[in-house]
Subunit: 379 residues, 2 copies
């Protein structure tokens, strides 16, 4: 049995973090990733409420990489989970999750073999956008004696993966129908070129256009006789736009559950559940320096911000966060500082665990699975 | 005994990677971090040759986070190693390294306690820039029944950590002399505001100015009766500038050993030893998409570039690298692609291991220690 390292509570690498349980959130060894459980539950409930009367959600677990959070989402009605990689899929399956969509093409012998083995016991869906890719997946499934569901990825305007025309979609669907071991279940099209548009009205228009492109493919596939059960799309910033299209059956949004400063202003319905606690290690005039930087907090999308606005973030270096201090009495050497991150998915990927807090006290420590290349598995 | 997870060859999380030994570099499961051993050795030899007639080097191990590389550097004459965090220091000490400079202030009870415990068996140096910080370090050393060497950090123009005037340096030195358990050994001043200046002549002028500021502090400290044995400074892009100052006794350069596209043009004496191998997972018209993104390859400093220039990097997303293909016959689905990273230190921090290659064949797998917050230790 293959089990992800982080998911074993007895795993030795996990021991130092367990000692945090019972502490106040400001007494953690820093840097520490902090997850506010009540905000997390509220974000999950807000999305569950919306999806009850619209498309379902199969939330993207690449954001949180955490089996405990995935279970809360499924308990609130999620149709399963979405992941980005085979290793995330395997880690989540080993943790007991099922109905897992890998929203990417899978290439490479080891990854295909591992996926097909896991597919004997767990229901997976995998994106495909080429005959060569589908053929390799078919071979892996046949070798493992299993069948794997596939979604045709459609490029809805992002110019990344996916087939680009309804004609290509039909020709790929026809090729898929001739391959054993894989079963066409539907389509997916992620409007990644839309999600960061700050103007909500424009974002809605662009999202609607992207979904028109996706549904055009669906209709032509259906006219050609292919059954399209699943139509998957949508990010956190567009969930209520793509999800409002009656032909979209499920959403892939992920960030909504943790949130960050990049997405916060675009979807005020969801609140930041994730923060990083740091400690002032140096203070000189109006500069305070915290004991962590980009090796613990990803900066790709947005600028971090202090929970208590006694300073602003001037810069984040590899091992330092530099603050411009407004309140001179604050932020002396040794003082704890809590920060809302700019980019939650990348930050989670840099950390070992969540320190889960309720009423400011650490109540649990949840491991982060399949970080980085994600291959660290116990044989 | 506490041992870092990654440094145990028997550690279960390490098993899948060991299976790569013997493969061709293009047959690795992707994404894979590849380290060319002959280029690595040449970079180490180039620096060793220069330092034989100038300042010594105590190379920064935050870049590589790898005990095997640190041992090669020490074998080539390094005076020890430099690290950024207590967890890197402890991991390296457990792996047998000695004379370890933590080039940052250390704050927080657990980190101070762990450092002081380790200092019973390993020689550490720690940066200090405040009486409060030095006092906490002194208490930790006394509790552990040991003594820890300290360097006063001087701000040489970066406006980050460090005391900012010779007067402050003298007053801190006087305070240190009244604290038990810590011993003033010298000063450090990192010219981080200089290292990315592209114009070599201007960079040299700025580096010289920064060193003048540092040496002014040294001279005033010496006149006040403090013995300054160690004067530490210098990055990869300025090693021959700061290291040319006769009062600088050692360099902290780290990137030179791996290199990346950000630093490559500034110091052509060192060549890229580090690459990432990916696989084309999607191909459409002139777009090829690789099976990894910013969760495996850090983008903070520079733009990645293909080893074989059959395409250029258009964008790097969280889980995808998008290429603009020039040679249409290349980069079909399933093809391996090797990329020189834009930022080696951040990229290493995202990965589990190095796949070490000689003559294009994997000869060993070296673990990466103390990633992210770095606290995953085996009790």
């Amino acid at each position: 049995v293959t089990t992800p390292v982080g998911d074993l509570r007895s795993e030795s690498s996990f021991i130092p973090y367990r000692q945090s349980v019972g502490r106040h959130r400001y007494e953690l060894t820093t840097p520490a990733l902090v997850l506010d459980a009540s905000i997390l539950r509220r974000n999950i409930a807000t999305m569950a409420e919306w999806t009850r009367t619209h498309a379902k959600i199969r939330p993207h677990a690449k954001t949180h990489k955490c089996a405990e959070i995935a279970r809360l989402q499924v308990a609130a009605g999620a149709a399963g989970i979405t992941v980005a990689t085979v290793w995330e899929a395997v880690a989540m399956a080993d943790a007991g999750l099922d109905n897992i969509l890998i929203a990417n093409e899978v290439v490479g012998k080891e990854k295909l073999t591992r996926l097909a083995q896991a597919a004997r016991e767990t229901n997976f869906l995998v994106a495909v956008d080429s005959v060569a890719g589908a053929d390799a997946l078919s071979h892996a499934a046949l070798s493992a004696g299993t069948r794997i569901g596939v979604l045709i990825e459609i490029d809805v305007g992002m110019r990344r993966g996916g087939v680009r025309t309804p004609t290509e979609a039909c020709s790929l669907a026809a090729a898929l129908s001739r391959l054993a071991g894989i079963v066409l279940r539907g389509v997916m099209g992620f409007e990644g070129h839309v999600v960061t548009e700050p103007n909500r009205a424009l974002r809605a228009t662009m999202a609607a256009e992207a979904m028109e492109r996706l549904i055009a493919c669906v209709e032509i596939l259906e006219r050609a006789g292919f059954e399209i059960e699943i139509v998957s799309a949508g990010g956190t910033n567009t969930y209520d736009m793509t999800g409002a299209n009656p032909r979209v059956t499920e959403l892939q949004a992920g960030t909504y559950v943790l949130m960050d400063t990049a997405y916060g202003p675009l979807v005020p319905a969801f609140k930041p559940a994730l923060t990083i606690l740091g400690t002032v290690m140096s203070r000189n005039e109006r500069t305070a320096v915290l004991d962590f930087g980009t090796k613990v907090m990803a900066m790709d999308l947005g600028r971090p911000a202090l929970v208590e606005p006694c300073a602003t973030v001037r810069a984040v270096h590899e091992e330092h966060t530099l603050l411009d201090v407004q309140d001179d009495a604050r932020l002396r050497v040794g003082e704890a500082v809590e920060i809302v991150v700019g980019y939650c998915g990348g930050t989670v990927n840099l950390n070992d665990v969540y320190h889960v807090v309720e009423n400011d006290q650490v109540v649990d420590v949840w491991p982060i699975l399949a970080r980085g290349p994600g291959r660290s598995l116990v044989a």
